[in-house]
Amino acid sequence: MSQYALKTLLPSYLARQQERIEGIARDFGLDPFPTIFEILAYDQMTEIAAYGGFPTRYPHWRYGMEYEQLSKSHEYGLSKIYEMVINNTPAYAYLLEGNSLVDQKLVMAHVYAHVDFFKNNFAFRATDLDNTGHLTDPMARPDPFEPNRRWIDKMANHGARIRRHMERYGVTAIEEFIDTCLSLDNLVDPWRPFTGTPTPRNEDDDETAVEVPRLKSKDYMESFINPASYLEEQRKKIEDAHNKKKTFPEEPVRDVLSFLLQHAPLDRWEHDVLEVIRDEAYYFIPQMQTKIMNEGWATYWHSKMMTEKILDASEIIDYADNASGVTATSGKQLNPYKLGVELYRNIQERWDKGQFGKDWDDCDDLEVKRHWDMRLGLGRDKIFEVRKIYNDVTFIDEFLTPEFAIEQKLFAFSWSERNGRFEINTREFQAVKDKLLSQLTNAGNPFIYVEDANHDNRSELMLRHRHEGADLRPDYAREALRALFRVWKRPVVIATIVDDRPVYLRYDGKEHKSEDAPKAEVESEEKED
């Protein structure tokens, strides 16, 4: 057990419930890590929630900000944190002191499903650590699967590292640099853990001499058939092409943080701080990638376990009251609990009744479709498979059906300039689905790559934003460039599109400039369209 964990053991009546609920979860086929429950007073709960679930983090003002928001909204009765669970081995979960027994049971059932998801969904393998506390290759899945995810310890170590730097260099200096790194912490590649380490380039390739192919000729004709000026020209062309390939990096790099770690001129403490921020950013990626699936899974199972096994008749009304609150919907934001659980249930029904595959897709008769039931009973197996190999994007992409979207009253909305408010845009299936997917893709962050670390041959850093319809927020982009400059210590440029015009946004340490992209690039962009 972690020495950093709080010593707040469960009272025996809850410990008995925990044992019982874990047994029920395993009987249903869930496969969670061992889980430790602790019971917290609301101020401790709020504190830990402010730290993102970890009892010990590095010191930073934004945790204080989170704390103020959470505690105020708790004190004014606007919201209440029922539970928290941490993807850690063993998993840690916190119960709120003073909740009713029904609520505590619900939370435990909910937690066991979350922990099952942590252990079994592929995305979370990116949080596996090796013995020294470094991220390990998630593709090498050992059998039996007993990963090391001692993140509570790792985060506490991060705290110790940062505190040490603060003692040495001063709180403000370190905090400023942390802010700088946080400005960049969404420039990561969610799939980086799964792509393995890149193979080193074969240096021999560079050694090959540049040979211009020449036509066969008699000696005396040589200077006419292969004139020296032409040869020279060709040689130059090949050389140019060759030189052009030698940009650095060779391929655009999406994991900007790791590129900076490797190549930016950082002091040792700066390197250390940036590494901490990057590691922690990667820890939270799987949770962002699977928000709907994870909450949906937990809601599916707490509802099944509670109603079929755990509750007695006197508790059912209180349970229903609470459960309906959790899955309540409100206009502007989709409730991941609701969307997730409904989609799992929908999948289960479809696979139970055999409503999938070629015959189903080809069938045009609505009446036949309505009564379609092949009694396959594959639903349970299917949702377990789904929880293993999907993330939110693929989950929605594959299983969201027009019927489901209508039943759940999904819509897309957009900002109306005329009325100065957000308005419902459409309920058309494809449009809603596209909007939802674009929101989920890359956790709603823009795609940004390192393109050239020697831009203009002046060792300026050039990033490229792959524009997919939405512009960057300009004031934030300027500040992010400022942060990038602080790390790279040379002028920085990002190529993007503003109001349909390709531009370079540049910051040289003194002033921000926005200039039109070079002509050649504009044309090639247009061709791609």
């Binding site: 939270f284 934001q333 989709l334 999904l410 909305f413 512009d471 934030y476």
Partner: protein, 370 residues
């Protein structure tokens, strides 16, 4: 128990107040400090610092939602939080300052905390007791007008589930007389301390709109604070130039006169008011006077000083004088007052150069706990 977060929290507060890390101050999102909503609800934004990243503008992006409505209808609902999920905090940076609605009582508490105001010592010797009914519980009998609808149906549902008469396919819940639940109340007796604020304002030609706005904001906060301290609070308003008269609140803040300034006229009227309506042994009395300090003559000032000394100061909890700086500069009156009553705790003076000076001035006035 001391929390680890306290350190981070006080650092955040210091950033918000602009004490450290001044360059972060520009990212702090603040709203208005005052915004009346409904009768006595005010929304105070919670300060938030958004770390700038490469990201999309929200308006450009739009999103997806769930619920009723036709295309073209506004999207209802706020950002909502469900049950706290896995490692949830910290990874969804909010788009907006989270606005929390608070009552005036809570607002006063925040004000008191922010300015470290002491609770006021009650001087009134009043023995008046008032009775107040509070709904505190539920019982099985009561008048139909107090029936608790939700509790009643919940009981009915429980009974039907337990007795097996509930049909999920036809979920009709019919309460029986036994299921009915009623709100019940307790009568609480509490002693009432009475207080009166008498606002006096100089409306002579030299007091402009900006000066009145300052007085308005300041008196709002003073009201709020004193209301949290006294159950029965009365407010009276006096305006004066060369003569004084009593007005209502609306007129008080909107009148603009021209003409000279005779402060003694207001003090006389105030004195008469106290004589007529507010016996000293039952009331806590708070006269507040705002002016730009340009009194007509030294003679008049002497009349004021005499009035204060003889009859006003002995009877009030505190006499507050706020001097608002006007385009014509700041007058002599505040100096005359402080010279005459330098050691008297009952007289509090404060200079308010501009809007930013309001907070400091409130602290001057209310920081003494009188």
């Amino acid at each position: 128990m001391s929390l680890r977060i306290d350190q981070d929290h006080s650092r955040f507060r210091a950033i918000v107040r602009g004490k450290i890390r001044e360059n972060l101050k520009k990212y702090v999102s603040h709203g208005e400090m005052i915004g009346r909503k409904g009768k006595d609800l005010v929304s105070i934004p919670i300060p938030q610092i958004d770390i700038p990243r490469f990201r999309f503008g929200e308006k450009q992006q739009g999103g997806t939602g769930q619920g009723k409505g036709e295309p073209g209808d506004p999207v209802s609902g706020q950002e909502q939080e469900g049950e706290g999920g896995a490692g949830k905090a910290g990874k969804d940076p909010g788009e907006h300052a989270l606005e929390v609605e608070v009552t005036l009582e809570e607002l006063a508490a925040i004000l008191g905390e922010e300015l470290a105001l002491p609770d006021i010592e009650n001087r009134g010797k009043s023995k008046i007791i008032s009775a107040k009914d509070r709904y505190t519980g539920i019982r099985r009998v009561g008048p139909e007008s107090l029936r608790h609808f939700k509790r009643t149906y919940r009981e009915a549902l429980k009974r039907m589930v337990a007795s097996g008469t509930f049909d999920p396919k036809r979920p009709v819940v019919v309460p029986m007389p036994d299921d009915k639940r009623y709100r019940s109340w307790k009568t609480q007796h509490e002693p009432v301390a009475n207080a009166v604020i008498i606002y006096m304002m100089d409306v002579s030609g030299s007091m402009g709109d900006e000066q009145k706005e300052i007085v308005r904001i300041e008196s709002f906060w003073i009201d709020t604070w004193l209301q949290s301290q006294y159950k029965g609070l009365e407010t009276r308003y006096i305006i004066h130039d060369a003569t004084a008269r009593e007005v209502d609140e609306h007129t008080f803040f909107r009148t603009r006169e021209s003409g000279g300034t005779m402060i003694s006229s207001a003090y006389k009227l105030c004195n008469d008011m106290i004589d007529a309506s507010y016996p000293v042994d039952e009331w806590n009395i708070y006269p507040f006077h705002f002016s730009d300090g340009d009194n007509w003559s030294m003679d008049d000032t002497n009349v004021c000083l005499e009035l204060l000394k003889k009859s006003l100061l002995p009877r009030v909890n505190m006499f507050a004088y706020g001097q608002v700086e006007s385009p014509y500069g700041s007058g002599q009156f505040i100096k005359d007052l402080t010279n005459a009553f330098a050691s008297d705790e009952r007289l509090v003076t404060s200079e308010i150069p501009d809007r930013d000076g309001i907070m400091g001035s409130i602290k001057d006035f209310l920081g003494k706990g009188r």
